[in-house]
Symmetry: C2
């Protein structure tokens, strides 16, 4: 096996990112630690060195005992590989940890050491002088380390090394210059909550085994429905494993509402159903239709205007067309915040059409839902309160750790009727508590991960106003980027006008292309620019931003900002970096 | 707001469980801490008190500096509410944490304090003198604490308190006497891995943003396919959010294999499809059929023998019946380890029938798959290598934290063809690395949680032989239970013979019922016994085990053992506890 961790915790050129703001070597963990003195240290020492045996004295202030202390290693690599005084992981295995007899001590030491590794990673994640990614091609990465699984156990020293190595090659998704996905950033309270969720290690199907989490799901979904604008927050909902599944739920429930017999009889028993969504909508609508036996051909893509918004007149035309063919329109999925342009479909106009033709209105606000938290921006979702169902992913614009996606439904009880199978081994009818809290049978899943706690705890920590501030700041940053590049030499905007969401779509045109006429050759060359710049970004590890073609538009950058760590300087850096990496193309 | 945490970290009667092995008050955190001295303490102190600023000296052993230390509180409650010297969370908010300027110090302190809370919970979880659950009825729990979400932020002191309160009311799923679900126990390496996964906070859709995790998924799924017995571990697969979704995938892929046109045209384009599974199979087969537009009426339930195994002759009869009606049998889902009885369907006979009639053979080994790791028990799944797809949940019998469910498919590429939608914003075709590692488009989900790392790290830590030892031990414990109660007064077995899995199904018959004739009144009274004992178990918080009716059998206990902490003494305790709580009924 290769020596994997080498260099990871050391300082030096690997971390040099070319960042003009943070020149030279990295500020690393130990430098942070130097600044770090105080209560927690005392507390830990007291805990670790036996002060806890003293009787409680409120406000007591005796120093921790020194007698039992042993020499610490003094190297500046944490965790270091120096011989440890008392815990030698090379002689410890998983079988020495709890629930082993006398497993507490090694368990606490091991978990604390894992935590050290994680804390170092967290601190590094926010350090602009570190790389966003230490990129290796798949074959390199497969060869660089032995990832294979074997018959025999490894010792805990090796396990700690695997943790380091895994993080060495991971993307720092909390890094201030990571803009690659709609989900970026690393929230500290959300992270703490996710650690707690892992520690509680339970399932959402019944109140019996997840009492608090079931109640928190109830409280949180209700709050989200209130914010959508449904009276008294009434309705239903669930946290599902991602926006695609939330959208699939909406399609499933809409179909059931119109044709409940489909549950028993299948699609053979119902006429041909048609769903409508915009040509800029998320691919999950088609994926869902394929899975649900509706078929992708029955998903009609409605034209968008130049800003990526669904054109209501085209929607109505296609609905009438479908009806004339004897098909049954059953779902319109409007998008609030499209994936690429960040466009908001005109929800009021869509709602009017849905009402007129009695069609289930779904709003895919996976990306745009967060704007409902902002008094300044929520008007972009006006009409969402008329939807029958809404997908809203707090793991995107609200910065909740992955995954946290909600499907909200206006009509209560429908999800339950649609999905319940009454498994008697889980949902016993003769339990001693109120069975309405056994919510598992409304899910497609049986076991369901606890996704609510991180959102709930972040909400308590930030308040609605904290989410609002985050969202307003991200939109302001997007506007800042737009204002810089809209008239800057070498940039062309993909669509005109100020972005409605944080999506800023643009081409960077290298000097050699600026002189070319607007013809096919130029388009062909332009289409190769973004992939090359992106590849270089990853190889240097300085930043990450996404690109794609769309319709007849060749590869362009889609900048999105949901990362709470990003600042104006990071936007400036992005522009400079694109130019640095692309000027020779 | 009520004062929530009070009493949680204190010792006393709340923890008295009536456990004869651990009488009296709890061993609690601080007593653990008293035993705890050594390298980690030194290391933390060095880290926290500035030794790190010294130049690295390999093997250096200077003691940590004492100069900058401040007084620690000396109370024995951890975390305590005594005034802290340096970090006063009452004046700190989420906005003071990273990425805030100078956020490192409060962030490290906060995360470390969260970790303290979690470590205390972990230690308590394994302590038999603590309750499995501090049960409160839903309305009580809603009133006992303010769970509501508000506009304004709360300070970090309150956030830490919420963490404590949440854990106070949580089920200790790692507790040695928690037997309620197929997923029990809390593995320390798995937990560490899940914390790391949360910290990495990424998504599985592309290699670009999850390089290591994508490779580990590749390595791990291949290993699982090797163990199933597919030559060279070839084939395909995915980690999905739970066994129900894995089973739904199997159904989806089987349908696509036979009628690929269903993806575009929907179920209207194909004949009526019929799936077959046993009457003891998991409800997710019907749930999947309802969702996929196949309909629950098209899921034929095959009869089981008295041990809960599918009867092959009935399967063949029903296949022929369906064909005579002009329907198309497309899937047989055999179960390896049924939910209630733990029965293994005769896979070889089922495989013969599937081959004869050219039907996709799926094996739902969500619960039984773990036995493939045991040389002693894997014969129970003989024939699984002939399946076209297999569901296998390492989060059940292998003790991996929730969730970790794999769907393995023998034919490579089929999942991709079935589910791909070619979203150009994610799966750009002009990336600079090998695109075969962008595996996201074979999923139904778009974003997908990283579920592989905890399994991979546990596998490295335990080796295949470690999983084998765990599984052999759990099956031995089940046999121990069976041997005790099969002839014990007051017990009746639900089915005869030694259990094949760890499921032991039995009635406890209280003395007052033992004298009654075997008639309807007795059945009616017997049906009320298990729910009452279960309710009392939860109210006392001493243990948890599941019960249910099945077919014409009234409520019986289903004991299952997947908890690595359980011992023979815990089985003895369970029996005594059932008798203690049920003797008056």
């Amino acid at each position: 096996m290769a020596s994997p961790g080498s260099g990871f915790w050391s300082f030096g050129s690997e971390d040099g990112s070319g960042d003009p703001e943070n020149p030279g070597t990295a500020r690393a963990w130990c430098q942070v630690a130097q600044k770090f003195t105080g209560g927690i240290g005392n507390k830990l020492c007291a805990l670790l060195y036996g002060d806890a045996e003293k009787p409680a004295e409120s406000g007591g202030s005796e120093p921790p005992r020194a007698t039992s202390r042993k020499a610490a290693c003094a190297c500046n690599q944490k965790p270091c590989s120096c011989p440890k005084t008392d815990v030698n992981y090379a002689f410890l295995h998983a079988t020495d940890l709890l629930p082993a007899c006398d497993g507490e001590r090694p368990t606490l030491a091991f978990l604390q050491d894992v935590m050290d590794i994680l804390l170092q990673y967290v601190v590094k994640s926010f350090d602009r002088s570190t790389k966003v990614i230490d990129f290796h091609y798949p074959n390199e990465l497969l060869q660089e380390y032995n990832w294979e699984l074997a018959d025999q156990p490894q010792n805990l020293e090796e396990i700690l090394m695997h943790c380091q190595t895994t993080l060495k090659y991971a993307i720092k998704t909390g890094h201030p210059r990571y803009f690659n996905q709609l989900s970026t950033g690393l929230d500290m309270v959300g992270l703490a909550a996710d650690w707690l969720t892992s520690t509680a290690n339970t399932n959402m199907f019944t109140y019996e085994i997840a009492p608090v989490f079931v109640l928190l799901e109830y409280v949180t979904l209700k709050k989200m429905r209130e914010i959508i604008g449904w009276p008294g927050g009434s309705g239903d909902g669930i946290f599902s494993p991602g926006g695609a599944i939330s959208n699939m739920y909406a399609m499933l429930i809409a179909r059931f509402k119109m044709f409940p017999e489909v549950k028993e009889k299948g699609m053979a028993a119902v006429p041909r159903l048609i769903a409508f969504t915009s040509e800029h909508s998320h691919f999950s609508l088609k994926k869902g239709a394929a899975a649900l036996g509706i078929g992708t051909d029955s998903v009609i893509l409605i034209k968008c205007d130049e800003r990526g918004k669904m054109i209501p007149s085209d929607l109505e035309r296609r609905i009438l067309e479908a009806k004339q063919k004897g098909f049954v329109p059953f779902l319109v999925s409007a998008t609030a915040g499209t994936t690429v342009y960040g466009a908001f479909d005109p929800l009021i106009a869509v709602a009017d059409i849905c009402k007129k033709y009695k069609i289930w209105m779904h709003v895919d606000a996976a990306w745009g839902g967060g704007l409902l938290m902002s008094r300044k921006h929520k008007w972009k979702l006006s009409g969402v309160e008329r939807a029958n169902s809404v997908t809203w992913n707090p793991h995107k614009m609200m910065g909740v750790p992955l995954q946290c996606s909600a499907l909200l439904v206006r009509e209560e009880g429908l999800m339950q009727s649609c999905n319940q199978m009454h498994a008697s081994y889980l949902f016993q009818q003769d339990k001693h508590y109120d069975l309405s809290y056994d919510t598992g049978d409304k899910a497609l899943q049986c076991g369901r991960h606890v996704d609510v706690f991180k959102l709930w705890l972040m909400w308590r920590a930030k308040g609605t106003t904290g989410f609002e501030a985050h969202i307003d700041k991200c939109l302001e940053l997007a506007e800042y980027l737009y204002n810089i590049i809209k008239n800057r030499e070498g940039y062309e905007m993909v669509f005109d006008g100020k972005p409605q969401h944080t999506n800023v779509c643009f081409w960077y045109v290298p000097p050699s292309l600026r002189v070319l006429e607007d013809n096919e050759e130029r388009m062909s060359r332009l289409s190769k620019v973004a992939p090359v710049i992106k590849a270089r970004m990853m190889e240097y590890g300085t930043t990450m931003v996404s690109y794609q073609p769309l319709g007849d538009k060749v590869n362009f950058f889609r900048m999105v900002i949901s990362n709470p760590a990003a600042t104006h300087q990071d936007i400036d850096f992005l522009i400079e970096e694109i130019e640095r990496l692309g000027q020779d193309l």
